[in-house]
């Protein structure tokens, strides 16, 4: 379930002062031979190739394979590399597990630290002052605005990724998904679930 339409701010206009500044810096770097246009395009393509689908696949594998789940929770980066995700040069990845007792929420109050190797680029709302300041002091209100409330009796744990470690949530496998295969399960795991502002839900069967 996507809540992008409520929370995503409009992309910076291509004619904004910031975009103009970026273009000027890019032109200077190319002119001075620091980077080439081709390298910039390759990097943009590489950034675009990473997406929350990677994180969703890791979660689905952990749901069906207890051994993989143990490895994912003990060393997220090694588990991602084992899975074939290009994360060797990435910061350390710590995966925090949601349980009936604890629901985890990720934020970076200082900037926008985000596990890009497994989730791609952060959504604009993740980088907004509003999310960054409110997620630490009123996480429940923030989650409610995403349409999610942790079950009664579940504690909320907020992780402020202030330094050299990146965080991802391992959500709970929803009830009623016993018959689903790994690919189907991965389809239930959205980016928002991996940040913790939402949780996966089993899709209601037709007529149910």
């Amino acid at each position: 379930m996507s809540h992008d339409h409520h929370h995503e701010t409009k992309p910076e206009s291509a004619t904004s002062p910031l975009a103009a500044r970026v273009r000027a810096m890019e032109a200077l770097l190319v002119e001075k031979g620091v980077v080439t246009e081709a390298e910039i395009q390759d990097n943009v393509a590489y950034m675009d190739s990473r997406s929350p689908a990677n994180g969703a696949k890791l979660v689905a594998r952990a749901w069906v394979n207890e051994g993989f789940k143990t490895r994912l929770l003990s060393d997220g980066r090694a588990a991602a590399v084992e899975f074939g995700i290009d994360a060797v040069a990435s910061p350390e990845l710590v995966v925090v597990e949601n349980t009936p007792e604890v629901h985890n929420l990720i934020v970076c109050t200082l900037c926008s630290c985000y596990p890009r190797n497994v989730l791609g680029r952060p959504p604009d709302w993740y980088k907004s002052f509003e999310y960054r300041s409110r997620a630490v002091r009123e996480p429940r209100a923030v989650m409610r605005e995403f349409g999610f409330e942790p079950p009664e009796g579940t504690r909320v744990a907020v992780h402020d990724s202030t330094a050299d470690v990146r965080y991802m949530v391992l959500p709970m496998r929803p009830a009623g998904t016993g018959g689903m295969d790994e690919e189907g399960l991965a389809g239930l795991v959205t980016r928002d679930c991996l940040i913790g502002v939402d949780a996966p839900r089993a899709r209601a069967a037709a007529g149910a």
């Binding site: 200082l110 744990a157 202030t162 050299d164």
Partner: protein, 97 residues
């Protein structure tokens, strides 16, 4: 890597400001917490930001804080936890018992 603190130690984030690039958020300055885990040693980001080597590496801790100790008007149980990653030179012994 010699870590000054171990998991479970009560700590307090040093108060006060430092000019330049700092990875310790203001809302945690002076607040009591408890070491959750030792994350490892990393080049000091406060030096890296200015093109320096960041050596010697600094030990980084995952520190848990009671939400009730951070925000007087916290919605939800006061014992809920906020975790943040704090470098050793920003921590001193103390905190809540």
């Amino acid at each position: 890597m010699t870590a000054r603190f171990v998991s479970g130690d009560p700590v307090r984030v040093r108060p006060g400001a430092k000019p330049g690039h700092v990875r310790t958020p203001d809302y945690l300055k002076g607040k009591p917490g408890r070491v959750e885990s030792v994350l490892g040693a990393y080049p000091n980001p406060e030096d890296l930001a200015y093109g320096l080597s960041g050596q010697p590496e600094r030990v980084l801790y995952k520190v848990g804080f009671r939400q009730g100790a951070l925000w007087p008007d916290y919605e939800g149980p006061a014992e809920e936890t906020l975790y943040a990653d704090v470098y050793e030179h920003w921590l001193e012994p103390g905190g809540e018992e």
